[in-house]
Amino acid sequence: MSAFSAAKILSPPPFVARFASEKSLCPFLSSPSVPALTRSALRSIRLLRTPLAVSSDVVIGQKPLASSSSATQNEDVDREVALVLYEDMVLGRFFEDMCAQMYYRGKMFGFVHLYNGQEAVSTGFIKLLEARDCVVSTYRDHVHALSKGVAARAVMAELFGKTTGCCRGQGGSMHMFSSTHNLLGGFAFIGEGIPVATGAAFSSKYRHEVLKESNPNGLDVTVAFFGDGTCNNGQFFECLNMAQLWKLPIVFVVENNLWAIGMSHVRATSDPEIWKKGPAFGMPGYHVDGMDVLKVREVAIEAIARARRGDGPTLVECETYRFRGHSLADPDELRKPDEKAHYAARDPIAALKSYILEKNLATESELKVIEEKIDNLIEDAVEFADSSPHPPRSQLLENVFVDPKGFGIGPDGKYRCEDPKFTEGTAQV
């Protein structure tokens, strides 16, 4: 199937992104499909620095990058930051592994989509955010919730369908929400969360410009996470347009794990280089190695700062990989073993661990302590979830409306919700 061979997009050689100093290396402009007129038009309208990108080495047959330490070119992180990042990624990994266990033991049900392998993206971005910033995710949202600060207990209880879950058991795996931590979901349909994220960013701009609320550190930022499959969906493009049009404080993060269930990204997409779609709308497009948390963090710092300043959105494509199937129900037969092995060798947690040990930021035993701490946390979360009560019947109708007058006026002239049987859940509505 040479027509779909990934070898077609190999034109620029792989190299690592740097910033303003290397403006001359702009691979996206040299793409053969871009006509000269567009190139100059792009140059002239863009007043900000030229967007940069790292070329993808994701394609099959390309020589893989060596894992971990050789890859980072950025400034070194200090011990404190490194340990925060390590702990967060370990939390994500151990939690998802426990989810798989619990699912096969019949404690959680339905569609469960695990994030193993992609931790660097969640940790790399979310650990830079403030409490006031918003995160919008997809159905693969457990780890985004944990990184944003939602308690493991609350997430686990939600997965078990208990009333102590973060959404009272009403959302489930694909609908994690937290108003305290500004996690705006959790969406089952792909692309659905992107407009919601755009709305949160609009709200941030509105509060600043119309309501004259301001924060000395800048605007509230929204980070929207979604996958490669979503990048062929209309809502993605419509929101890129609106976000850039109004310079909304948002970062669009593509978790390109190359597969949309069983549909390979290159089979579904005419131009598989997603980062290029940013400049098409006038915003910078970055491509970054999503298996390296420090590289992701470096790009994230820039994108988030840009949004906070009011300079508008950024599109960041993170090349990453999910070690498990699409969901726990996916037999995962289409992905080749050598592709899986290639990415398993680039496990982000192993990479960071090597980095930490190499730079002497911590000892092996200190990292072990962190891992044990997380183990205990997860075990506690499972116990909590297991011993929590199931939602009672009376909870059935409670959150359908904010204002329960919306259930209407009954034949007796009273509002339906005033009927005592209503809260019992036995009333007819």
Binding site: C167, Q170, P195, V196, F401
Partner: protein, 403 residues
């Protein structure tokens, strides 16, 4: 205007004081926070006052009209002011935008163009381009954007240039607008108002003549209201904006130029209530939006023929006001539903089911439902006329029911 005056007289005489308490516009329930004004049947205001300038409820004001409406008075001395329905909508919107800076408008051509039906005319120069946002043509995304903004503290009014365009936003309206409050376990509220003109116009063609109320009615978590007069348009607009629930406000393309005199004082109507248009004894006719006028036209003929129809504008399409409707059924024992939805799966079908469920014992005849034909609205004028219910059909239906 005549219709509302009639209703005013009726309401003041017929509704018992206990019922009036629930009919007041901004009533709070025990144990809930929120609007807290209770207007009693004798016009006194009780409960904790929110400090707003809400003087009285709709009915009391209308009663003033009937008493002051002497034949010799000139229009200048009449209380209230006259305006067209689209101006009433604008007035309601503007008052709410003045009152709460978080209320904003988004939609196509709502800003600089002033709205394709002029509902938002003049608002963009007054409030700025961010508060009255001209969006690109991307219904699904800007509706979702409105929902995201609502989750993070704003109160958007999302306009569909034509209700039919909101079919493109169905994903966001069903999945996010209706459901997010529930799936988030009550953590986020979506106080949006989704509004726009729908219904069959004058030879606008099939796609611009759709009735989306029948498609949206199953979405849990959504409230739907339909306005039909300048008076209820303004009141419902304000109520919808103030409500913390997502509300879909259906307007009709052919009703924007209706003229009526409305009160100068601020008033907010109840989203869940139906409106008594004409009290009667023989048959209950339930209708909403444009069909109200076809019904009233048929009512004139019916009165001449000796019938006494009771006409109720149900206004609240979801949920139904089973109290007003029930009281009427218990009195007349005969029901005719006149709607503009298609026969299959329309509001009329649901209403029929609700009445059978709740008031079966009071019925002396099967419920008749006149709906539009299950046909894409044709362009040709004659064909179009035959797809919607005409007054002559209503007269014939009543005659049949009352045999």
């Amino acid at each position: 205007m005549a219709a509302s005056l009639q209703s005013a007289v009726f309401l003041s005489n017929r509704i018992d004081p206990h019922r009036r308490l629930f009919a007041s516009p901004a009533r709070s329930l025990p144990g809930t926070k929120g609007s807290i004004l209770v207007v009693r049947s004798d016009g006194r205001i009780s409960g904790r006052l929110s400090g707003r300038n809400l003087i009285t409820n709709a009915v009391a004001v209308e009663c003033c009209f009937t008493k002051a409406d002497t034949p010799t008075s000139s229009t200048d001395s009449k209380p209230g002011h006259e305006l067209l329905l689209f101006e009433a909508l604008r007035e309601g919107l503007e008052e709410e935008m003045d009152r709460d800076p978080r209320v904003c408008v988004m939609g196509e051509d709502v800003g600089h163009y002033g709205g394709s039906y002029k509902v938002t005319k003049g608002l963009a120069p007054k409030y700025g381009d961010l508060r009255v946002l001209d969006t690109p043509i991307a219904e699904n995304s800007f509706t979702g954007m409105g929902i995201g903004a609502a989750m993070t503290g704003l109160r958007p009014v999302i306009e569909g240039m034509n209700m039919g365009f909101l079919l493109l936003a169905y994903n966001q309206i069903s999945n996010n607008c209706g459901m997010l409050h529930y799936t988030s376990g009550g953590q986020f509220k979506i106080p949006v108002v989704i509004r726009g003109p729908g219904g069959v116009g004058r030879q606008l063609g099939a796609e611009h003549s759709q009735r989306l109320e029948s498609y949206f009615q199953s979405i849990p978590g959504l409230q739907m209201v339909a306005c039909s007069t300048p008076y209820n348009a303004k009141g419902l607009m304000k109520a919808a904006i103030r409500s913390d629930n997502p509300v879909v406000l259906f307007e009709h393309v052919l009703l924007y130029n209706l003229k009526e005199r409305i009160p100068d004082e601020e008033y907010v109507l109840c989203l869940e209530e139906a409106e008594m248009v004409r009290p009667g004894e023989h048959v209950t006719i339930l209708t909403y939006s444009r069909m109200r006028y076809h019904v009233m036209q048929a009512a004139k003929t019916l009165v001449n023929k000796g019938y006494d129809p009771e006409v109720i504008d149900i206004r609240s399409l979801k949920p139904f006001d089973l109290y007003t409707i029930g009281n009427s059924v218990k009195k007349t024992h005969r029901v005719l539903i006149v709607e503009e939805c298609m026969r299959t799966g329309g509001i009329g079908s649901s209403l029929r089911a609700a009445i059978i469920d709740n008031f079966w014992d009071y019925l002396d005849a099967p419920i008749m439902c006149l709906s539009s034909q299950d046909v894409p609205t044709p362009y040709a004028g004659t064909l179009e006329e035959w797809t919607v219910v005409q007054p002559a059909q209503i007269v014939a239906a009543v005659e049949q029911l009352c045999q």
